[in-house]
Amino acid sequence: MSVYMDLNIIAISDKKRLQNIIETAAHLGYSTVAINYVVEPQQKKQQIPKPLSASELCEKLPIVQGKSRPIKVLNRLTVVATEASHFRPSSEYKNFDILAVYPKTEKLFHAACMTYDVDIISIATTEKQPFYCKRSPVNGAIERGVFFEISYTAAIRDSTMKKYTIANAINLVDVCKGKNVILTSGVENPLELRGPYDIANLGLVFGLSEGDAKAAVSTNCRSVILHGETRMTALGIIHMMMKKKKSQPPIEQPEEETPAVKRAKTETL
């Protein structure tokens, strides 16, 4: 089973609140979060921001609940595209682990599905989707390993947006048959964050099957991150692990360690 991830935490300038959100996410059981920087090129002079590294953000990353590992923090860029010129691959995109695009028109949606070199395509949650997701571009995106994102925070904030989120999500899930969907938060406030199991359950409301809903917060997110890594290379990635040599007997170390613990105990007595 894969770990739970939340790939959309809006990068707010208030550093303390961002730390608070990351802490809450770790407490709820998310092993990986992505800080999302949003750029809207139609507003003039929008620069692509420089992502903060995880160490700049928090001095000590909080420990994930139920695991003894600290939370992993990634960077993500979302380009809001209303015109074709808004999304152009540049070297600045390379600073981010994940690249997402939020197409506002049908033409751009088609282009994003078929040709854009992105990892995530965001679906509108704060407004009515102005176009219908057709099956052929969606199938093309699934084939290329691009994922569709539904973020749920808008649904918590406002009842009208709840309607739009659910309607758009059901539409999307109908077209893609539950494949290649990820559920993310998009929070700006720690109280808007929900636990991974809650979100998997919310996926059922959006029409996903039980397995797909769980995958939407775990395995699919992992695929997104791996897809993001392949974007930086030519073809693919290989993970390598150092294996211990067999000739060295590894028994010696634990033998040394056990008495050390015992000694510590007697000392305290």
């Binding site: 139920g66 749920y152 918590i156 109280l191 808007e192 636990g195 199991y197 809650d198 359950n201 409301v205």
Partner: protein, 124 residues
């Protein structure tokens, strides 16, 4: 007499349990917020009605226990209402114009399972 070794009994449910039990906790921005059990249940009912409407909210659920100081509670709901109740809890975002959140700690078909939480055990 031959002494029998300690034995244990394995209980298998052939049919799925009728109910599900949920242990939940309300987190408010204002930490000193207090609610009566009636207000607490009303908050949940209005959340379900917001999301599913009058017809969709027509499933019974019970508030078994409520801890006023920690704002934690145990709910009992029929299986077919679980997804509805849970999703409604997820989408509740405010109480009396103040941000709040329901944290679902545990969900189980057995009430006994809620007596302990393996995730809060401290292992050495």
């Amino acid at each position: 007499m031959e002494e029998k070794p300690a034995s244990y009994e394995r209980v298998v449910y052939k049919n799925t349990s009728e109910y599900h039990y949920m242990k939940i906790c309300l987190v408010c921005e204002n930490r000193s917020k207090t609610l009566s059990p009636e207000q607490f249940k009303q908050l949940i009912i209005s959340g379900v009605k917001d999301l599913y409407g009058e017809v969709g909210a027509a499933f019974p659920f019970d508030l078994l226990t409520f801890d006023q100081s920690a704002l934690s509670a145990i709910l009992r709901v029929y299986n077919r209402g679980l997804v509805k109740l849970w999703s409604a809890l997820t989408l509740i975002g405010e109480y009396e114009d103040e941000p709040c959140a329901f944290r679902v700690t545990q969900v189980s078909p057995f009430l006994l399972a809620l007596s302990g939480n393996s995730r809060e055990l401290e292992l050495y």
